[in-house]
Structures are given as structure tokens and as C-alpha cells.
């Protein structure tokens, strides 16, 4: 079974597969037993049977199904295991498990833990004690023996450490434990990297009485680590190493990040065939290189792939040099006092023990300081001057402060950035016109450009630079009158900087301002240490606290509790007490890196042991016993087979009636559920807005329908409907208009715009329409509709009682108060309403005498015109004559209500009034224009 990661616990059972053809043959021969039925009318059936093919054998798919079933059962009985793992014989009376949890184990730590867990599980199965030791932990750790449960817990709690292994110490502990457990199995789970003292460690281990040794190592070491980095003047060089065993060409990408972790540069590092070391170069500008805080390799997640750089943020050593330190009684007058106070927190200050410059300067230079500050040193002895210049040109930063001595000294081309005029310049003295000068804005190109100039600093004395062509470039700070305050000049790799005033507060108050601290700090930041100092040169023995540690997976993390402060300068090995990382504080750190420059990654050699060594590799326990799934599949097939047999036997179709019922029930259920999901939307839609459906709209406009308002009082509504019906009939008889059914409208809900006229009988007993309904009526009237209000109270108001108001009129007034009612007037004689179809003097209904009020016409009445002109149709008509009452007819076409007085002619006139109103509604001013046709024709000369 090489082609499949499959093994069998009982491979002999597989011989049963040979029986499959026999089973196949049997299955083919023995069809499923049919239902046996006695059937007298067989001869009739036989006539059909000639057409029907009778299956004498099982269907092929059923045979296949059963064969598969048999095969599955056989396979399952053979106890197959997918992705089998090696069984490691944990013999003897215990298991000693030594696991390397160094940084090299971090990338595949899970697999190592899984491997170890498997071993512990095997030990648990045999109920033997387990010694568990982690080689990157402290030698003081508890190695056991534990029982398997505890060992498993400890294993799961373990994690890789960003430090190399400490095999000798740990193996010593294990050897002690093994001495009490003779005949135990030893499992060495190595990280694959050789370390010092390995050989002795193994030998100490193998001295114990062992039953067997299991050697588990990574198949091939592929970790690539960074061993060195150098910030060269032109480029940044990174050196990477890889295990020596690896010979193929390989390329990785290294990248540099700044303090915030931003990736700012990268380079490719190519290992040639057989090369264990390779370098990459990042050619980026110096300013960018100064921001590098760490270099890392892409895709490598272990501590070795991250290298911290402290060049940029490392504490600088600054040498201080002065010539008049004698008077310690007046420290505030000491030239270096303010400099010490300003730089103390940021830099290591180095001061010579001797005031003699010939001794002091070599002392300082031995310390390879980043910068040397000389406070008012005039002339240097020739012997030391050369060394100082040499140091400066090699990259040192020389910071000089002016003072009486410098002012008196001669110009020194090398050690001064600019030529100075001899003597100092005094500003604002008693004999001077000038004022002490404040500091001007810092020039944009200089290092102080982002500082704001101090407002309260004045300079009263200074040394003056001779004007030259490049004086502006060299100036880092100016006074307000333009004279330089700080000048600087590049000297090869180094730099000389001159403050044109004193470092103490005699010439100016700059040294006691905060800006002075900032300026010095910037300058020191620009400088770089000139080499490392030897261990014994640490004057104070200061220890740096852990600041940021590298985790085993190659990320920066807060320091762990085990981390102890680091003594800078000493070559401290990387241990758990001193894990790799940054030591120091925000102001300056020292990088403590895992690999020293020149380190190599040597593969560990398998030691020779007195007992046989089994080799294995790390792997997850991905073995899966397949017996259960196979059996389940066989069971499923069995169920399928049963179903198929039932189907072949016809049981399913005999039950099909029931099945159909069930299907129906399911469908109904599904429909109910569906409806349940959908109905809320539908209900919302109905509640939301009473939009007329398309059907209603089509019905409403397919014929001209006269609408009436449903008041809610049934007697009124009945009369309204009958009245509109009567009018419709009359219209159909007399005119070309054949109105549709009367349309009852609910003004609060129904769409009104379909109807040209809405008849509104006012009834005091009806509920008052809501504000919204009145607003809708108002909109309807504004959009061209007409409402015919009928108060039907012509005789109810009492005769001549003009002051009294009937309830209907009062209600009408209430309604109209919410409407935009135009000015009204009774229909004038020459109004088009009086001539729209019939010529009518008035508009009676059941009653006679109430005027019909319409919108007041704006045009003047003219005697020579039969009708006054005017555009539009009145939006409102008001009458009290109960028009609908007069129009109302019953089912036979007979009048429903008597007119008052009972005069048939009045009913006829009422109907004619209705005709005129409808005609007026539908034709508008066309009728009023039509009466002018003779005049128009006459004007046209025809």
C-alpha cells in the first residue's frame, strides 16, 4: 500500500476480497425472491406478459450495491488506518522525553508537540512514568518523572523559547532521572541544531541503562537566520546563514523595519549552491538607514530571523572637554554644567580624568565616542590635534562652544566650520547701540528645522563668522540680525559643529533654555559611535533593563519575567535570563541578538549510542481509523439495499397513496410556512398606504362616474346613491353622456382624482371628517375637481330666521374652515351654469329657493355678451336644495322622495340642474365659448 497512506490492522482479512466474484456470481444467479401469488386469471396475464420483459436476474445496480456492501464490510473488518503513524515501541519501565524548545523549534512547534503527545499517549497506554525535559528551559525545571496526564499538561503548557538549547545541563538532569528508572526508553526530540557540548551531553545521557532510544529530528533544517548586519557608509549589509546541510540554491527576502514596525527597505539574499552564508545589501539613503530598527527575513517565523539594530537608537558616548573645570565651587559657572545636565539622560558621558589636553584627548578617543564636546577650548596641542582630526574625519562629531579662549585663539581651518573674526562681538552693552539678539527661525535645511525658536532667548555676545560663499549652507541657526549662531561643516565622514556662544549662561541665556537640550540632543543623534568599547571600559557598571524582547516566533514582545537586566558591553550569552531583544529604555537601547556575527547553523549529528536508535520525524498524528466510517457506509448501503428491495417488491408503490398524502401534507405545510414568511409583508403593504389597485383604477376611469361622499349615515348614503343613479339615467336619456355606476367614496381613504364631481350631502349626524380627509378634499379641489356640497336644509332653517344656523350649515362651515375656499357668489344670470345644457334661471332640488353658490367670477359681466367668460371650473358648489333627494329614484325608476312642494316640474328642473352641473363639470368653459360662436363667426367676416 505504498500509493495510499493506508495500513491495515488485520491485512489477512483482505483475502476475503477474493470472495467478491463468488458473491457476484451468486447475486447474479439469485434474484430477489418474488412475492408469490396464486392468480387464477393467469392466462389473461400471460397475454400481457409477452410484451413485458420479465427480469430473471437482479438489476445490475442492485448487484453492484451488494458487492460494494460486501467489499466495504471486508475492508472495514481489515481495520484500515488512514495516514498511519509509526508505532514507537515505548518499552522498559518509563519514557524519558527530551524536547528541544529552542528558537529553531518554533516554526513547527505544533508538530513537535503533537509528536511528543503521541509518545506520551503511548506511554499512558502502557502506564509507565514519563520524564519530560525541555532543553531551552532553565536547568532547574522539574523533569519528573510524571504520570502521563501531568506530562501531557506540561507539554501543552510548554512553548518555544527564543534562545538556543542548553543540552549539557538539561541532559544532566535527565540522566539523573534516568538513573532511578533503569531500562527506560529515551526519546530525543531535537531541533536539529548542533550546540556546544553536545557530545558530552549525549554521552552523559547514554551512560544510563536504556532500553531503546528514539531519535526524532526535523527531516531537513530549513531555518535561515540573520547572523550579522552592518551599516556601511553607502549601504546596509545583512548577512544570513543557513544550516550547513542545505546545499541547494535558495533565495530569501530580508527587510528592514523602523521602530514602528513599518517596512522601509528590503533586499534579496541568495544562497549559492553549497553556501551556508549569504549577504544582501540595501542601498538606501543614509537618512532612511538611520531609521532601521530591525532586519528580518520574510516567511521565517523564528527568533533567528529577526535581528535588532541599535545603531540608531543606541546610547551615544559623548566626550566632554573643558579647560577651566577648576572652580568646582561655582558649578553654575562651569562650562560643562549645562551640557552634562542636557545630555545626561540621553547619552553616556565620558570625561577625561586629566585636565591636560594632551592626555585628556587620547583618553577620550580611546572610548571611541560618538561625539566630543569642547567647551571654549582655544588652541589644541599639535600632538593631539592630529589625532582629533583623524578621529573626526573617521566619523566623529566634534561640537565646539565659543568662549573667551576661542575668541582669542587663531583660526583653525580643520577644527572650525567657518572662519571666525578674532574677538567677540558684544551686543547691547552700555556703549553699544545694538540690542541683545533673539534667535531667528531655524533654517529649513538644518537639523533644527522642526524646532520652534525660543522667544525668550537672547544672545548678547558671540563670535562672528567671516562672511563666505557657503556660510548660509553651513549655518544651522541664526540670530535675528542674520549672524550665525550655530555653524557646521562636514569633514569627510565626520562633522564639526560650532556654537558661536558659550555653553554657560554668560554670553547668552540659551544654555538655560529647553531649546539648548533639544539642539544638543539632535546633534548627538546625528553622531555615531566610533566602534565598540571593550568590556572593562564600562565606567559605571550600569545595567540596562529589558525593554523589548524577541519572541520565539520572531516578533517583538514585552519582556518576560525571566529576563534580567543586561550589562552593556559584556559579551553576555543569550540565555533565558538574557533573551534576545532590546535592553534599555525609550531613550536608548542596546540590541542583544541571538546569533553572533560569524555564527553558523550546524546540523546536529546523531550520536552513537550503546542501544539501538530508532529514527523518526516530526509529524502530526493524522492517522484515522477507517473502520467506523466504512462500517457506517456499509450500513448506509444496507439501508439503501433494503429500500431498493422494498421498491422492487412494490411496497413503496402500494403505500404510494399514503406517500402521496404525505407529499400533499408536506406541500401544504411548505405553503403555510412560505405564506407565513410572506404574509407580514403583504399585511404591511395593505396597512401602509391605501393605493387603489390597478383593477379599481381601471374600473374607476373606464367610465365617467359621478361620486358621492359616504357620510356614514345610511339613509343619507342611500338617497345619495339613488339620486346619482337617477341623474345618471336622466343624463343617459337626454345627453351623450352615459355615466357609470355611482361611485361611493370614502374621502379619508379612496383615490379622489378619478371623479370629476363629488356630491357631498352634509349631515350633522355624520362624523366630522378628519383633518387628513379635509386636506385630501382640499388637494382634490386644487387639482381641478369639484365638490358639490348640499346642506339640504333650505326649509329646515326656519323662515326668515336669518340669524339662526342649521346644524348642517354649521357643519359645512366647520368643513370649509379647513379648506382653501375661493370667494363665492350665487350663480349669476350670465354664468355658464345657467346655459350649459338647459337654460335655467335657478337650480332647484327637492326644495326650491336656495341659491347655488359657486366661485366668484373674476371677469366683469358685459351686457353685449350672453355669458361671462372665464377659465376653469368652480372647485366648489354649495346648495341647500337637496339635489340628490330630487334625483333619487327607486329600482323601478320611480321617484323616491316627493319634492316640496310636490311639483313634477320642479323634479324635472332639478334633473336639468343636475345635467347643467355635470355638463359644466365636463366641458368647462367650452360651453361659454360656444355661445360666442355667432359673434366670433361674425368677426371673422363670414
Amino acid at each position: 500500500m505504498n500509493f495510499l497512506p493506508l495500513s491495515f490492522g488485520a491485512p489477512m482479512v483482505l483475502w476475503g476480497l477474493i470472495a467478491l466474484p463468488v458473491i457476484w456470481w451468486l447475486l447474479r444467479l439469485t434474484p430477489p425472491r418474488p412475492q408469490q401469488e396464486t392468480f387464477p386469471p393467469l392466462r389473461i396475464l400471460a397475454r400481457i406478459a409477452r410484451r413485458e420483459e420479465t427480469p430473471h436476474k437482479s438489476p445490475w445496480w442492485l448487484t453492484l450495491l451488494r458487492l460494494l456492501l460486501a467489499a466495504l464490510v471486508i475492508l472495514a473488518l481489515a481495520d484500515p488506518v488512514f495516514n498511519p503513524r509509526e508505532r514507537i515501541a515505548v518499552g522498559g519501565r518509563g519514557l524519558a522525553l527530551v524536547l528541544d524548545n529552542s528558537w529553531a523549534a518554533a516554526p513547527d512547534w505544533e508538530r513537535r508537540v503533537a509528536t511528543a503527545a503521541r509518545l506520551i499517549n503511548d506511554a499512558r497506554a502502557q502506564a509507565v512514568p514519563v520524564v519530560l525535559a525541555l532543553t531551552a528551559e532553565s536547568p532547574a525545571q522539574d523533569v519528573g518523572p510524571f504520570d502521563a496526564e501531568t506530562a501531557l499538561e506540561r507539554l501543552n503548557a510548554a512553548e518555544p523559547r527564543p534562545v538556543p538549547t542548553d543540552r549539557p545541563a538539561i541532559y544532566g538532569r535527565v540522566a539523573q532521572a534516568l538513573a532511578e528508572m533503569p531500562g527506560a526508553s529515551l526519546a530525543l526530540l531535537t531541533d536539529g541544531l548542533a550546540a556546544e557540548g553536545d557530545e558530552e551531553a549525549f554521552q552523559s545521557l547514554f551512560q544510563s541503562e536504556l532500553s531503546n532510544v528514539l531519535w526524532v529530528g526535523p527531516g531537513a533544517l530549513s531555518a535561515i537566520a540573520l547572523s550579522d548586519s552592518a551599516n556601511e557608509p553607502e549601504r546596509f549589509t545583512v548577512t544570513a546563514v543557513r544550516p550547513e546541510g542545505e546545499t541547494g540554491p535558495r533565495q530569501v527576502t530580508a527587510y528592514a523595519s523602523d521602530e514602528q514596525g513599518r517596512r522601509i527597505a528590503e533586499t534579496a539574499i541568495s544562497f549559492g549552491p553549497g553556501e551556508a552564508q549569504a549577504t544582501g545589501q540595501m542601498t538606501v539613503p543614509f537618512e532612511l538607514r538611520n531609521d532601521f530598527a530591525s532586519v528580518a527575513i520574510d516567511g521565517e517565523n523564528h527568533a533567528g530571523a529577526l535581528r535588532l539594530l541599535d545603531e540608531n537608537s543606541r546610547r551615544r558616548r559623548v566626550g566632554l572637554l573643558s579647560q577651566n573645570e577648576a572652580d568646582q565651587a561655582q558649578p553654575l559657572l562651569s562650562p560643562l554644567y549645562y551640557i552634562r545636565r542636557a545630555l545626561g539622560p540621553y547619552a553616556d558621558l565620558v570625561e577625561p580624568s586629566s585636565p591636560d589636553l594632551t592626555e585628556a584627548i587620547p583618553q577620550l578617543l580611546e572610548q571611541h565616542p560618538a561625539a566630543i564636546i569642547m567647551a571654549d577650548v582655544g588652541t589644541l596641542p599639535e600632538s593631539v590635534r592630529g589625532r582629533l582630526i583623524e578621529w573626526m574625519r573617521g566619523g566623529g562629531t566634534l561640537i565646539r562652544f565659543a568662549g573667551p579662549r576661542l575668541a582669542a585663539a587663531e583660526n583653525d581651518e580643520e577644527l572650525l566650520p567657518v572662519r571666525l573674526r578674532t574677538g567677540e562681538r558684544s551686543l547691547g552693552g552700555t556703549l553699544s547701540w545694538s540690542e541683545p539678539q533673539p534667535v531667528a527661525e531655524f533654517p529649513a535645511g538644518g537639523p533644527f528645522s522642526d524646532l520652534s525658536p525660543p522667544q525668550d532667548v537672547t544672545v548678547s555676545r558671540q563670535v562672528l563668522a567671516e562672511p563666505s560663499a557657503d556660510i548660509v549652507e553651513r549655518t544651522w541657526a541664526n540670530l535675528a540680525d542674520g549672524t550665525p549662531l550655530v555653524t557646521s561643516a562636514q569633514r569627510d565622514e565626520g562633522r564639526v559643529i560650532l556654537f558661536h556662544t558659550t555653553p554657560e549662561a554668560t554670553w547668552s541665556n540659551l544654555p538655560i533654555s529647553g531649546t539648548f537640550v533639544e539642539m544638543l540632543r539632535r546633534i548627538v543623534q546625528l553622531s555615531r559611535n566610533q566602534g565598540t568599547v571593550t568590556a572593562n571600559a564600562d565606567p559605571r557598571g550600569g545595567q540596562l533593563a529589558p525593554y523589548r524582547m524577541i519572541s520565539a516566533t520572531g516578533t517583538l514582545v514585552p519582556p518576560s519575567p525571566e529576563a534580567e537586566p543586561l550589562s552593556p558591553g559584556r559579551d553576555t550569552p543569550v540565555t533565558l535570563a538574557h533573551p534576545p531583544g532590546f535592553y534599555g529604555s525609550e531613550e536608548g537601547v542596546v540590541a542583544h541578538n541571538l546569533l553572533k556575527p560569524g555564527a553558523t547553523l550546524a546540523a546536529i549529528a546523531r550520536p552513537a549510542a550503546p542501544v539501538p536508535i530508532t529514527e523518526a520525524s516530526y509529524a502530526f498524528d493524522s492517522s484515522r481509523p477507517l473502520k467506523g466510517p466504512l462500517m457506517a457506509a456499509a450500513l448506509a448501503l444496507l439501508a439503501l439495499d433494503t429500500l431498493a428491495v422494498l421498491w422492487l417488491g412494490g411496497l413503496l408503490s402500494r403505500r404510494s397513496g399514503r406517500a402521496r398524502t404525505a407529499a400533499k401534507a408536506t406541500a401544504v405545510l411548505a405553503a403555510v410556512v412560505l405564506f407565513g414568511f410572506m404574509s407580514p409583508d403583504g399585511a404591511m403593504a395593505q396597512i401602509d398606504e391605501p393605493q387603489p389597485t390597478d383593477q379599481e383604477a381601471i374600473e374607476a376611469i373606464s367610465a365617467t362616474r359621478i361620486a358621492y361622499v359616504v357620510t356614514g349615515v345610511s339613509s343619507v348614503d342611500t338617497v345619495s346613491r339613488a339620486g346619482i343613479m337617477g341623474l345618471s339615467r336622466f343624463l343617459a336619456e337626454k345627453t351623450a353622456l352615459e355615466p357609470g355606476e355611482p361611485a361611493p367614496v370614502d374621502i379619508s381613504k379612496d383615490e379622489l382624482s378619478f371623479y370629476p364631481l363629488i356630491y357631498w350631502p352634509i349631515d350633522a349626524g355624520a362624523p366630522m371628517p378628519s383633518e387628513e380627509a379635509i386636506a385630501r378634499i382640499d388637494a382634490y379641489m386644487q387639482q381641478g375637481g369639484t365638490v358639490l356640497f348640499d346642506t339640504r336644509d333650505q326649509y329646515a332653517g326656519g323662515f326668515g330666521a336669518s340669524g339662526s344656523v342649521t346644524p348642517e350649515t354649521q357643519r359645512l362651515r366647520d368643513i370649509l374652515s379647513g379648506l382653501n375656499v375661493p370667494p363665492l357668489e350665487p350663480v349669476p344670470d350670465d354664468h355658464v351654469l345657467t346655459k350649459a345644457f338647459y337654460i335655467l334661471p335657478d337650480f332647484p332640488g327637492r326644495y326650491r329657493g336656495s341659491a347655488l353658490w359657486v366661485e366668484a367670477s373674476t371677469s366683469e359681466s358685459r351686457a353685449d355678451r350672453p355669458v361671462r367668460t372665464g377659465d376653469g371650473v368652480t372647485p366648489i358648489m354649495i346648495t341647500g336644495n337637496d339635489l340628490a333627494g330630487a334625483w333619487a329614484i327607486d329600482g323601478n325608476g320611480d321617484p323616491l322622495l316627493p319634492t316640496v312642494p310636490a311639483d313634477p316640474m320642479q323634479r324635472m328642473l332639478a334633473l336639468r340642474s343636475g345635467v347643467n352641473i355635470i355638463m359644466y363639470m365636463l366641458t368647462g368653459n367650452y360651453k361659454s365659448d360656444q355661445v360666442h360662436v355667432p359673434v366670433l363667426l361674425e368677426r371673422l367676416g363670414q
Binding site: Q35, Q36, E37, F39
Partner: protein
């Protein structure tokens, strides 16, 4: 899955003694059942009344020229101006041949019914025997008895049947004479041509036949489904079908077509054809057959 049909009593390989006992014990039951059914039939039937040659008064009817003067009932005629003839009730004995198919196929009984076809056929025949005996008809079983008239005709017929050897062969109808009625209760599952062939002599001698088809509901509705092996109880022939439910439609068509053929054939000869399902009441068929007989007797004379 339970079978739908079964053979009630094994026929071909049955020991003779056991068979006789079974038969003997079966027949009295049938007789009792037949009596009960006859009682039901008589309760709903108003007797067989018609004029004819007999002893009892039937009716007076007006004398028609040409009739025998001797038949005039003068006593009655003296009572008014008309001359009457006294009719007497018909009392001529009639021969009815009764035969029930006792072939193995008749032993079939499905779960849909309570009785086998043979049982139902025998019940029907014995019930008719009882009915006809009571009304004085002569009954006979072709090949088994000569026509006889007896009050206990059904018992005697049953006795004869019990001792007879059931055979699949068709009865010998040579003895049947004209004006006889023949009642044949069978399942008529043979091809119609065959049935017509052995019944054809009856038509030729002028006898009237009443065919009673005793059908099991399972034979008609064909409720089988799935893989089924059908066995013919007579020939032992077997047929296996993969999916029996697919045959149902065709089978029912053929089955009913056979019945239609026979019905039409009978109608053409003035015979009756009655279908009795074993899950229905036997008295239904009894009434129908009896009515058919009566009507024919009336219509015939």
C-alpha cells in the same frame, strides 16, 4: 408482505378422504347459509303467480270467441251478463339444471374477500336449489343427478355434490332438454371462445342459461405490485414480473373485455349473465338470477 390471494383448499394432491370430509363438512354450512339467503330473497319477493295448468284458482277472465267452452265457469258467468273463463294457476314443473364450477381455480380466495369463489358458487347454486325446490321445480346437477323434485332438493343436491369428485372438466350438458334453465356458476376465466364452445350446445337445444360469474375482487382490481410470481392454480404455470403494478391497466382491460364478450354473447341469446364478487352479498346475485329466471319464464310463455 402478506400475500393477496390463496388457495383455500388444496385440490390436486389432496388425499381423497380428507377431501371428502372437507367437502362433507363444508356443504352443510353452505346449506345453512343458502337457506338464510333464500329466506332473505323470499321476504322481498311476491311469489310466482301466473296462469297455467294447475289446480288452484288463478283468475276469472272474459271468454273470448274460440276458446274451449268447457273452460267457461258458469257459476261466475251466471252472476252477470258476461261469460267468464276460470284460469288456474300454472303448476307445470320446470327443470333447472344447476352447476357450480369446482375446478381448482375456484378455490382461490384473496384477502379482500371472506370466502373462496367455490364456496360462493356452491352457496349460490344450493340457494337456488332451495328456492326452486320450494316452488316445486325440478332441479338437477348435470352429470350427477337426474332432474328431481323434492322439498329437500337442496339437501339432496348437497349430498350428491359432497360425494362427487370435483373435476375441472366441463359438465355433460347432453341431458339438457328444451325449455330447461341452466344455471352455471363459474369464474369463466377460460378464454371466452372456449366458454362459448362448451355452452353452445345449450343454445342449440334451446335451453336458457344463466351464467353467474363469481369473481374475486383481487382478480378484478389487480392490487399486485412489485416483483411478483403469479401461479396458475390449475396448470401450475408460473409467471414472474419485475414490477407487477405496471401491468394493472392492461390486465384490467383484458379482464373486463372478456366479461364484456361473454355478456354480449349471452344477451344475444337471451341469456342472463350475472357477476357476483365474493366480497359482495351472495343474495344480490341470487335475486338477480332468480329475477332473470322468473322474467324469462314469464316472457317465454
Amino acid at each position: 408482505m402478506a400475500r393477496i390471494g390463496e388457495v383455500t383448499a388444496p385440490v390436486t394432491t389432496q388425499d381423497a378422504l380428507v377431501r371428502a370430509r372437507t367437502r362433507a363438512s363444508l356443504v352443510p354450512d353452505l346449506l345453512v347459509q343458502a337457506r338464510r339467503i333464500v329466506g332473505n330473497v323470499i321476504a322481498g319477493w311476491h311469489g310466482r303467480r301466473r296462469r297455467g295448468i294447475g289446480e288452484n284458482f288463478w283468475q276469472f277472465r272474459p271468454y273470448v270467441e274460440g276458446e274451449a267452452v268447457a273452460r267457461i265457469d258458469w257459476r261466475r258467468s251466471a252472476r252477470d251478463e258476461h261469460i267468464y273463463i276460470r284460469d288456474r294457476e300454472w303448476e307445470a314443473a320446470h327443470t333447472v339444471w344447476l352447476w357450480a364450477d369446482r375446478s381448482p381455480s375456484m378455490l382461490y380466495r384473496s384477502t379482500l374477500s371472506d370466502v373462496s369463489k367455490e364456496s360462493r358458487a356452491l352457496v349460490l347454486i344450493l340457494a337456488l336449489a332451495e328456492l326452486l325446490s320450494r316452488s316445486g321445480e325440478r332441479i338437477a346437477w348435470p352429470g350427477l343427478t337426474d332432474p328431481f323434485a323434492a322439498r329437500n332438493g337442496a339437501e339432496r343436491l348437497a349430498q350428491h355434490v359432497a360425494h362427487a369428485e370435483p373435476s375441472a372438466t366441463h359438465p355433460d350438458l347432453a341431458q339438457v332438454r328444451r325449455f330447461s334453465d341452466v344455471v352455471v356458476a363459474s369464474d369463466f376465466l377460460d378464454p371466452p371462445e372456449e366458454t362459448m364452445r362448451w355452452l353452445d350446445p345449450l343454445a342449440r337445444v334451446g335451453a336458457r342459461a344463466h351464467l353467474v360469474e363469481v369473481a374475486d375482487p383481487a382478480e378484478e382490481s389487480f392490487p399486485y405490485a412489485g416483483r411478483t410470481e403469479f401461479r396458475d392454480p390449475e396448470t401450475g404455470e408460473k409467471l414472474t414480473f419485475g414490477r407487477a403494478e405496471t401491468l394493472g391497466e392492461d390486465y384490467r382491460q383484458l379482464y373486463l373485455a372478456r366479461r364484456e364478450t361473454l355478456t354480449g354473447w349471452c344477451k344475444k341469446r337471451g341469456w342472463s349473465y350475472t357477476v357476483n364478487h365474493t366480497d359482495k352479498l351472495a343474495s344480490d346475485a341470487l335475486i338477480r338470477v332468480h329475477t332473470a329466471m322468473t322474467v324469462e319464464m314469464d316472457g317465454g310463455r
